[in-house]
Amino acid sequence: MSLKSKSISSKSSLNEDERLKKISPLRVLLNRPELGALGGSILVFIFFGIVAGDTGMFSAYGMLNFFDVSANLGIIAIAAAMLMIGGEFDLSIGSMIGFAGICIAIPAIYWGWPLWMSIVFAFAMAVLVGYFNGIMVVKTGLPSFIVTLAMLFILRGLTLAITRLITGRTQVPGLRVLIEDDPLAWIFATDTFKWLFTWLGSLKLIELRTDGTPLATGIPPSVIWFVALTLFATWILMKTRYGNWIFASGGDKVGATNVGVPVGRVKISLFIGTAVASTIFACIQVLDAGSADTMRGTLKELEAIAAAVVGGCLLTGGYGSAIGAAFGAIIFGTVSMGIFYTDVDTDWFKVFLGAMMLIAVVFNNYIRKKVTESK
C-alpha cells in the first residue's frame, strides 16, 4: 500500500497530466477482492452482536465453537480458492474428505498400522487423487467440472464399497486410543494455548466448569491450521513467482503458455492442493471424533466453493484472494453456529448461504467490470 501511494505522488509531482483522474484510496480498497467478504464478516458480527449478544455465543467457549466450524471450512475453502484463481474447480473435495478418513481408519484399526503411517498413507493417496484430477483436466482439456464430478462419485463409491467390504459397516470407530504417544497425530489433534485459558480461568474472566477447569480448554487444531494455511496461501499468491503463475494460468491460459508459464504443472499442483487440504480436514475431524464415517464431508465441496466465491474469487479464474476465502468461511461458520443462539429456525441457514452467494457473485461481477474498464 505504501508503495502504491508513493508511486502515485512521485508521478504526479513530476508530470501533471490533466487527463489523469486521481484515484481515491477508496477505489484502491474497492479493487481488492477480499473487500466484500471482510465487510460481510463485520456485518455478520454486528448482527449477532445485537441479536445474540446476551447469549453464550460470544463467550470464550461459544467463540471457539464457531471459529472451529469456520476454520474447518476455511481449510478447504482456501485450497478451493487457489484452484479457482488458477481457473479450475474441484467438486471432489467432499468425497476426498470421506476417502481420506477411511484411508486413516482402516489401516490403523484393521491392518494394525501405526497411526502415523496411515496418516502418511492418506496424504499419499490425496496426492495421487489430486494428480489424477489435474492430469485428466490438463491432458484432455475437459472442463474440470466434469472430471471432478466423476471423481466425486468414484471416491464416494470407493469409500463406501471398501469400508463395507473390509469392516461390514459404514463407520470405523476406535481411533481415539491410538492418538496418544503417536509421533504424528498430535499435529491434527492438539488444543494449543491451554495455559492462556487456564490463566484466564484462574482470573475468572472466562466460564469455568464445576471442577474449576475452564470450559474452553484451548485453541482447537483446526484454527491453527486455518490461520497457518491462510498466511501460507496469501504469501504464495502475493509474494512468489508461483503465485503469479496461478493468476496467469487462470486469467489467460493461452497467453500464459505463450510467455512460458508452465500452466499444466501449475494446475496439477493446485488440484493436489485441494486434495491435500481435504485430507488435513479429514485428519482433524477423524482424530477429533475418534472415528471415520463414509459419509463424512458430503457437500463440503459446494460450501468450500461458496466460501471462495463470497471471498471474491471469480468463477472464470484469474482473480481472488486467500484472505477473502478465509473471511468467506468465517461468515458461513459464524452464521451456521450463530443461528442456534437466535430464535430463527436453523432450516433458514441454507437460504442464507444461497442468498449470500448470489449477492457476492453480483458484487464480484461489478468489481471485475470496474477493474478492467478502459479509460
Binding site: L3, K4, S7, I8, K11, S12, N15, D17, L20, I23, N31, K239, T240, R241, G243, N244, W245, F247, A248, G251, D252, V254, G255, A256, N258, V259, G260, V261, L314, G318, Y319, R368, V371, T372, E373, S374, K375
Partner: protein, 265 residues
C-alpha cells in the same frame, strides 16, 4: 558470411494434404522492418507460428546469426531471441502491469526454497520501461484492463524487448486500433528498429505497413509473391498484389467479354 541477422529459407509447412506454406523465404538485417502482407487465409498465422517455434517447418531452414537452428518449442525461439507478440498479446487484463510484464519470468530474491517475487524491483523496471515509451503508468499495480489498446500493445512489445528479443515478430499490432493509437504503436516499432532490432511486422493493412517498412513480403495462398524493397514498389502495387490483383484483373476481362457477347446477341 552474410550480414543477415536471421534468414528463413524456403520454409514449407503442410497439414495433411493442405499446403499451408510453400517455399517462403525471408531475410532480415538488424534495424530492418520487414512487413509481411497478406489477406485472410494467406498463411500468415502459420508462418508466425513457425517463426515462433510453435510449428516445426516441414521443409526449409532457419538461420540465425549464421547458424542453422531447429526449434523444438516456443521456448527455444524465445531463448535465442525471437520474440513473438501475438494478436491476443498474452496479457491478462485482471492482472497488474507489473505482474503481466514479468509473467513467467518473475525476478526473485531470497534464499532457495523461500524465494519471493521481487515486487519492488519488478514495479520499478516496469514503470521505467513504460516511461521510456512515453506511457506514464501512474501505478504499476493497476490492472492492465484499464489501459488503452495501444498501450497494451506497447506493453507487450516492450516486454518482448526487455526479455532479450533481437528479432521481433509482431502479429497484426495495429489491427484493432484507431488512427491515433496505431500511430503510437508504429512510432514505437520504428524506434525499436532504430535501436538495432529486426522487426517482422505482420499485417493486412498496407497503409500502416508502407510508412514504416523497409521491405515487403507479400503472401498469397501460402506462397510468397516475392520480397520488395520500398524503393522498388508503390503502395498501390502492393495493395493490388495483396488482394490478388491479377485475379481481379482477369475477372474484369471476363466480365467485359461477357458484356461484349451480350451486346452482340
Amino acid at each position: 558470411m552474410t550480414d543477415y541477422l536471421v534468414q528463413f529459407n524456403n520454409i514449407s509447412k503442410f497439414f495433411g494434404k493442405v499446403i499451408a506454406l510453400k517455399d517462403v523465404t525471408m531475410r532480415l538485417k538488424k534495424g530492418e522492418i520487414m512487413c509481411l502482407l497478406g489477406d485472410n487465409g494467406a498463411g500468415k498465422s502459420t508462418l508466425i507460428k513457425t517463426l515462433a517455434g510453435v510449428h516445426k517447418p516441414d521443409e526449409g531452414e532457419i538461420i540465425f546469426e549464421n547458424k542453422k537452428i531447429i526449434f523444438d518449442s516456443p521456448k527455444d525461439a524465445l531463448d535465442i531471441g525471437i520474440g513473438t507478440v501475438y494478436q491476443d498479446l498474452a496479457l491478462v487484463s485482471l492482472m497488474s502491469v507489473t505482474r503481466n510484464f514479468f509473467m513467467g519470468r518473475e525476478p526473485q530474491k531470497g534464499i532457495p526454497f523461500f524465494k519471493t517475487f521481487d515486487v519492488d524491483r519488478a514495479n520499478k523496471i516496469a514503470a521505467e520501461r513504460m516511461g521510456q515509451i512515453g506511457i506514464d503508468i501512474r501505478d504499476p499495480s493497476q490492472a492492465v484492463g484499464t489501459m488503452s489498446g495501444g498501450e497494451r500493445q506497447c506493453l507487450a512489445i516492450s516486454r518482448a524487448i526487455y526479455f532479450g528479443a533481437k528479432v521481433l515478430v509482431l502479429d497484426e499490432p495495429t489491427s484493432a486500433l484507431g488512427v491515433h493509437q496505431a500511430s503510437m504503436v508504429l512510432k514505437y516499432i520504428v524506434k525499436a528498429a532504430s535501436e538495432g532490432l529486426a522487426v517482422i511486422l505482420i499485417t493486412h493493412n498496407v497503409h500502416h505497413a508502407y510508412p514504416v517498412g523497409s521491405s515487403f513480403t507479400v503472401l498469397n495462398r501460402g506462397k510468397s509473391m516475392g520480397t520488395f524493397q520500398k524503393k522498388d514498389i508503390s503502395r498501390e502495387k502492393l495493395l493490388s498484389m495483396m488482394a490478388g490483383g491479377e485475379e481481379l484483373d482477369k475477372l474484369e476481362v471476363e466480365l467485359q467479354e461477357m458484356d461484349r457477347i451480350h451486346s452482340k446477341n
